[in-house]
Each structure stands twice: as C-alpha cells, then as structure tokens.
C-alpha cells in the first residue's frame, strides 16, 4: 500500500479496517471454512455501504472514488482484506461493476445497482485473457440467433459463481470475443463446485449448455471484448495483488514479532544473524511488492502505456517472491506454522491462491516478454 494516503483515503481505509476487525475476527474467518458461501450476506451488504463496490463505478451510476483514482482507492480496501484474511468476492464484484458502469447498457443498470447496494454479488469468467497459458482459446462459444445470444461451453475456475446472481462471461463468437451478462438462474447454466485451498472463497466450473439470453445482455459490442478483457484482467490482478500484499504484511509482522519473543539456545531468534538477513530479504521483497503494485494501480487508473507491463510485473513478482516470503515465515515459525490452529496459514492460503489465479507468475512473464518484443519493434 502507498506510504502516504490522503486524509480522505486514510479515513476510508481505516473504516474498513475497523469493520473487518470487529465483524470477521480471525477465528470467525477460520470457522467460515464450513459456511457454504464463505461469507454472510449481511456482512457483504454492510461492506458495500462502506464503499467496497462503488469505487470503479461512475458517480453518474451511483458510484464514485475517494481520490479520483478509483483503483488506487480500491487497493486500500483490498489491502485490508489481505491483512484480515477477510471473506467476500471483492475481485469479481468490482470487475463486473466497473465494466457495467463503463460499457453496460440500460438493461444492466438494475444489476449494477444491486452490486452497489451489496444486495447481490457478481461472478466474472476469467478465461481466454491469457493467451500464454498454453491452454489456447478454450472457453465458451456464442452465436446470435433471433434476438438471442446462445452460449455453450465451460469456464473455470469462476470465483463466487455459486453465490452470484449474474455472471459476466466472455465467449468466442463470429464477430470475435464477446461479453455477456448472464443470470445464474438461466436455463442450461450449471455450476459445479470446485475445491480450493482458500477457506472463505468459493469457486465453480460453470457450464453453459445452450443458454439463451436476449442480445441486450451483451456488454459492449459483439466482438469488442478483447480490450474489455485486458482491462478486467488488469483490474483483477491489481486488486488480488493488493490483497496478497496485505496478507504478506501481516504474515511478516507476526513473524518478526515471533522472532523477538521466541528464545532458542538462550537467545531470541531475532539475534541470529542468518535469520536477521532473511528478514532483511523479506522486508526488501515486501516493500518491492507494495511498490510495484501501487505503481501498477496508478498506471491502470491513469491509462498509462506501461500499465500492462507493470501489472504483469507486479503479478509475477508478488506471486513468486510473495510465496517465498510467506513460506519463509512458516519456516521461521517451525512446526506450529503448519497447524490449523495457528493463524499463519490463513495468509499463506490467500497468497497462494492469488498466485495461481488470473495467470501464474510464468504466464505473466510471458506477457511481459511480449510487451518487450513490441517495444523493440516500435523502437
């Protein structure tokens, strides 16, 4: 997170921090593993009142940011989600809300309103956005017939599909990639729950078997989804990263404290030079995680030309170095660090799952190399 927030941003962040502390203390998070949705609807609605879903939405549509840079503001919330290992579909709901506000039609307004109010959540089928993941252009197909869009195919993993009233899906059609907002009660849509390592997030494999929705359900124009998808990917990655960085910050802080408190061979762990140097590495990586994701968030908000490479650099770096950081926290804790009773694994899970979502570090390194190639050609 930024070292310097404006006074308004600080109040905004702090309000959410205090809400999460009281509403989902860490033992509550632990027990949510048995909750079918992973979060309580009231909790989400109260969060929406605090602005969790409005930052990427224009004022015209009832949203608005704190600082004028909505994604940067949102990273402060995501950071607190990470700090508290908090539940709730922050990424998909914001990605869908932002998209509906930017390019949605009139028919999408009621859905947008319900997302803003927190009375429903949305899912986002991330899929073909990464052409580098070796999987090729899999995912749903669509065709337009008689004023309807017909969808077939499967997409996975889709966060919060089981809790969402609507899913924003990207499908291959004649005109190219097309995005469609589909109600989850549409005939032919099925959601198979998946297993995951996160205790409070739920994923599904979503199958469209001849699902029909009116053409008004299309978001943007048919064939126009490439740019939408790229922007959505950037939003999702930056929000997920901010959450991971919050989790890393907590894991780091609790491990440093442990090193001061824990004695071995008559000395605190913190007095061992080898551990001191590992903490120095951790601190360096942690500051770098903050730095690169904050720069990525600002670049996306500003529509800067280096947004794509910064976002992927942030994802690749936080994925790899963040994992090693939190695993080193486990190592320094010793056996207790891999018990369910200890809090550390809640952060480990968050960082780990975020690493594998929306492209692995390797996928994003390929994206960066493509940017490099293009720069080289331009030069």
């Amino acid at each position: 997170m930024l070292l310097e927030l404006s006074a308004d941003q600080e109040i905004f962040r702090d309000t959410t921090a205090r809400f999460l502390t009281s509403r989902v203390p860490i033992n509550e998070v632990r027990s949510l593993r048995n909750h079918p949705a992973g979060f309580d609807p009231d909790y989400w609605r109260e969060g929406a009142d605090l602005g969790w879903t409005s930052l990427l939405v224009s004022e015209e549509h009832g949203g608005g940011s704190v600082s004028g840079a909505g994604l940067v503001d949102l990273t402060t919330i995501a950071h607190e989600f990470g700090v508290h290992a908090a539940p709730g579909p922050l990424v998909p709901t914001n990605v869908v809300a932002g998209t509906l506000s930017a390019v949605g039609g009139d028919t999408h307004r009621p859905v947008l309103a319900s997302l803003l109010a927190g009375t429903s959540v949305a899912a986002w089928c991330f899929g073909p956005a990464l052409s580098t993941d070796g999987q090729g252009p899999a995912g749903p197909r669509c065709r337009i017939a008689g004023g309807e869009v017909v969808l077939d195919g499967t997409q996975r993993p889709v966060e919060a599909a089981g809790q969402a009233d609507h899913i924003l899906v990207t499908a291959w059609g004649e005109a190219g990639l097309t995005q469609v907002l589909v109600p989850t009660d549409a005939a032919g849509l099925s959601r198979e729950p998946m297993r995951t390592a996160d205790l409070t997030r739920r994923f599904s494999a979503v199958t469209f078997d001849g699902v029909r929705v009116p053409v008004e359900a299309i978001v943007g124009e048919p064939g126009d989804a490439d740019d939408l998808l790229e922007r959505q990917l950037q939003l999702a990655v930056v929000i997920g990263n901010a959450e991971a960085v919050g989790a890393l910050q907590t894991a780091f802080d609790m491990t440093l404290q442990w090193a001061f408190d824990r004695y071995s061979f008559g000395r605190p762990l913190a007095s061992y030079q080898e551990l001191k140097h590992r903490f120095a590495d951790q601190k360096t990586w942690l500051e770098a995680c903050h730095a690169v994701n904050d720069a990525a968030a600002a670049a996306v908000d500003e529509g800067s030309p280096d947004a794509k490479e910064l976002v992927s650099a942030a994802k690749a770096f936080i994925g790899d170095y963040g994992s090693e950081l939190v695993q080193d926290c486990v190592q320094i804790h010793g056996g207790i660090g891999v018990t369910f009773e200890h809090d550390l694994h809640l952060y480990l899970r968050r960082v780990t799952v975020n690493r594998a979502l929306y492209g692995t570090p390797a996928d994003h390194r390929q994206r960066i190399s493509t940017v490099l190639e293009n720069q080289k050609e331009r030069a």
Binding site: D133, G134, Q135, R156, P157, E192, M194, R195, T196, A197, F203, A205, D261, R262, Y263, S264, F265, G266, R267, P268, Y272, E274, L275, S323, Q327, V330, Q331, G334, G335, G337, V338, T339, F340, E341, H345, L348, R349, T352, V353, N354, R355, A356, L357, T360, P361, A362, D363
Partner: protein
C-alpha cells in the same frame, strides 16, 4: 561365509526368494511417490493398516529377515548396512511394514541397543522385531523448537521411581504406539546438557493424555502429549542419571541416518514425504502442459534434484560408513533433501496452473497440488530444521566458530526463555 556371516549376495537371493513368495506386489498407484501432505486416514483405516503391518513383520521375523543390523542374541540377523541395502533394493514394489521402520526400529530400537541394559534389550528388542511393540519418540517440546536439549519436562526421583511431568509434541502414532522413549530434565541446577535423563515408558496409562494436532491440510497424524505425575521405575531408565544428552546425541544421529541405517528398511529410491518427479510428470500431463518447454524445464529440474539427492545420499552414506567423513555429514543429506523437496512441491504447484487455485476431482494429479505446496516447509522443519543442519555443517563439518550460546555455562533454571514459557 568364512566368519559365519552370510555374504551380501546370498542374503540378497534369500531375501528376494522369500519376498516374491510371501509379499504382495503393489499396484501401480501404490508405488506412486508419496507426497508432502501427510495421508489423511480415518482412525479405523489407520488401525487396519497397522495390524496388517504387524502381521507382515511377524512373517519377516519368522523368515529370519527381521532386524538385519540387530545382533542375533536379540532376535536380529547380525548383518551389516550392506545387507540392509540389498534388502531395500529387493522390497521395491512390494508391500512392507513401512510404519514400523521409523521411529520404532530406529532411532528407538537403535538407542535401546546402544544404551539399554541387558534386561531392557532382551525384553524389548525381540518384541520390536516381531512387530509386537511399536515405539514413539517423546523428544520435542512446545517451548523448545530446534533446541531439543532445553527440555522442560521434568523427572523427579521418588525412591525407586521417577515422577514425570510436562508436555511433548510432534509425536507420531501416539494412539497406536505401545512404548515411548522420553527425554526429561532431572537437574535444573546445571547447564542444560548436563541435567537430562532418558526413560522408557508405556504410552497407554492414565497419566498420559494425548491430543491430536490438526495440520493445515487436515491431517491429524501428529500429537501432543501431556504427562501428569507419570511414574517410571528406575529400571526403565536408559543410560545414566543426568547422562541423557549422551543418549540424545546418538538418538538424533540415528534419526538423521535413517536412509543409511542398518536397522531400517526403506525401498531404494523412496523419499517418503516428497513430491516425486514422476508424480510431477503426471501433474503436467493432467494439466495438459507436458509440451510446454517451460514446463519441461521445470520437470527436468525436479528430476535433476531427485537424482542429485539420491547420489548425494549414497556418497555421504558410504563416506560415513567407511569412516572417510564425520558422522555429522549426515546433515548435508538432510539439508539437501529438505530444500529440494520444498522446491519440487513448488514446481508441481506452478505446473498445475489455475488448478492450483481451484480444482475438481477430474483434474487427476493436478488436483490438490496446492496442499503439498502449503505443507512444503515441513520438509525443512520436521526431523530437525534446515537451519540446524546448516549450523551442524558449518560448525561440526567445516569447523567454523560456534554460535554464542548464552545457555551453555549457566544453570538451566537461569537461562533466558521465550515469553510464553517463562511463566
């Protein structure tokens, strides 16, 4: 056979014949390398598996193949580590009593053999070799971490008995074990290494409460024990009073040397608790990524680490056995195995791609890779941390200056301790 000892080749043939005739070959999926994540079994499954293993062990004993490195007078075969290695090669691909090997045969059995009285050895070693007694180690403590000699479990003399109080942790098989080997503090007024004593005691008795620990992957194999006024006769003491560190040093040596031990049967090539390269190949296939050069680079790395680890283990094992390098060099093997196992778990997780975040049962080997990743540091923690291994290598193998240890020359009761254990 001039000295009456069976030579390695004829032993090997004898073992092979018996194994092929009596043991069940494993199904292909049973040979798949085990993973970091401890198997999650129900208690019934665990007990049934153990009963079967006791049965096999008894057969092995009757066949004259049990306790290869244990002397004949205690029911063993009186043979060498080379014979054990030959046996380890022959049992590859066959059912064998894996759960009895460690810690029962070694370090527990090995420590009994080295420090037990004649009576203790005659009572326990044959029973161990027949599969009648399963042992566990009461060594680590919640307060101690790597500092095993800082045990707070106390033993106070009361006539011909000792009264033990305290807590032990990271024990395995507490619910199924019969006996335990326990390190306790008998003197608080001397430096820590000089006030320890080792005892043996039956596990199932009223003064011992066992609590299972839930690991983050749901496994409950590890336990914590609470000892309350447990009475142990002095005849169940191992080694001298306050001489427990002499025993403890060898105890931990046997633990580090498991893979080169003459007491323990481990199929050649097995690295229990590791994500094997073969299983990572399956992850790559099931994730549909075997043809990605980057994935193949990672697969090559995983198998490289495995091959290097195996050859390193052989080099160090032979070097120690031949007296060319110090026994402390076992820490080299331990360090390499821990670090490379963690790396392999990371490789598998990376290859799994988005199946590392969420998966269905259709994902085959790519499913659940994340559990091994979340648990990966256990390979660098369990059985002595990699940090301790690095201390041993630098100080004992390379002879570099020892770390400052403010507890070394101070009565143990005055040693600074963690906040949580100072109370």
């Amino acid at each position: 056979m001039t000295d009456g000892t069976e030579d390695v080749d004829s032993f090997r043939r004898r073992a092979r014949t018996w194994i092929h005739a009596n043991l069940r070959p494993l199904a292909p999926d049973e040979t798949a390398a085990p993973t970091v994540a401890l198997p999650v079994q129900t208690e019934e499954e665990e007990l049934a598996a153990l009963a079967r293993e006791r049965e096999i062990q008894c057969m092995v004993f009757d066949a004259g193949l049990a306790g290869i490195g244990f002397p004949r007078e205690y029911g063993g075969q009186g043979l060498t580590a080379d014979h054990q290695r030959a046996f380890n090669a022959e049992i590859v691909g066959y059912e064998y009593p894996a759960r009895l090997q460690a810690p029962t045969f070694s370090p527990c059995g090995a420590v009994l053999l080295e420090f037990g009285t004649e009576e203790q050895k005659r009572r326990h070693i044959p029973a161990i070799l027949k599969g009648e007694e399963i042992w566990m180690q009461l060594l680590s403590e919640p307060s101690g971490g790597s500092d095993v000699a800082a045990a707070l479990t106390s033993a106070v003399r009361d006539g011909d008995e000792w009264i033990l109080n305290g807590s032990k942790v990271w024990t395995t098989g507490a619910s199924t074990a019969d006996w335990g080997l326990c390190l306790a503090r008998t003197n608080w007024d001397v430096p820590k290494h000089r006030g320890l004593t080792v005892f043996i005691l039956p596990i199932h008795q009223p003064g011992i409460e066992v609590r299972r620990i839930e690991m983050l992957n749901g496994s409950t194999e590890f336990c914590q024990e609470f000892l309350t006024d447990v009475r142990v006769p002095d005849s169940d003491r191992i080694g001298d009073v306050d001489g427990g560190w002499t025993v403890g040093t060898r105890w931990m040596f046997h633990e580090r040397m498991l893979f080169n031990s003459p007491f323990v049967s481990i199929p050649v090539g097995a690295s229990p608790g590791e994500v094997g390269a073969a299983s990572i190949v399956n992850v790559a296939r099931d994730a549909g990524r075997f043809d990605d050069r980057c994935v193949r680079d990672l697969l090559g790395e995983a198998h490289m680490l495995e091959l290097v680890g195996q050859t390193l283990r052989r080099r160090i094992g032979r070097g120690v056995a031949a007296g060319r390098i110090s026994e402390q060099s076992a820490a080299i093997t331990r360090l390499f195995a821990g670090v490379s196992s963690a790396r392999k778990a990371t490789i598998a997780f990376e290859i799994a791609g988005s199946a590392g975040a969420a998966w269905t049962s259709d994902d085959g080997a790519a499913a659940n890779c994340v559990d091994d990743f979340l648990m990966r540091q256990t390979s660098c923690i369990g059985g002595g941390t990699t940090e301790m291994a690095r201390n041993v290598i630098s100080e004992r193998v390379l002879g570099m200056p020892r770390e400052r240890t403010p507890d070394r020359d101070r009565p143990f009761r005055d040693v600074p301790r963690s906040a949580s254990t100072r109370a």
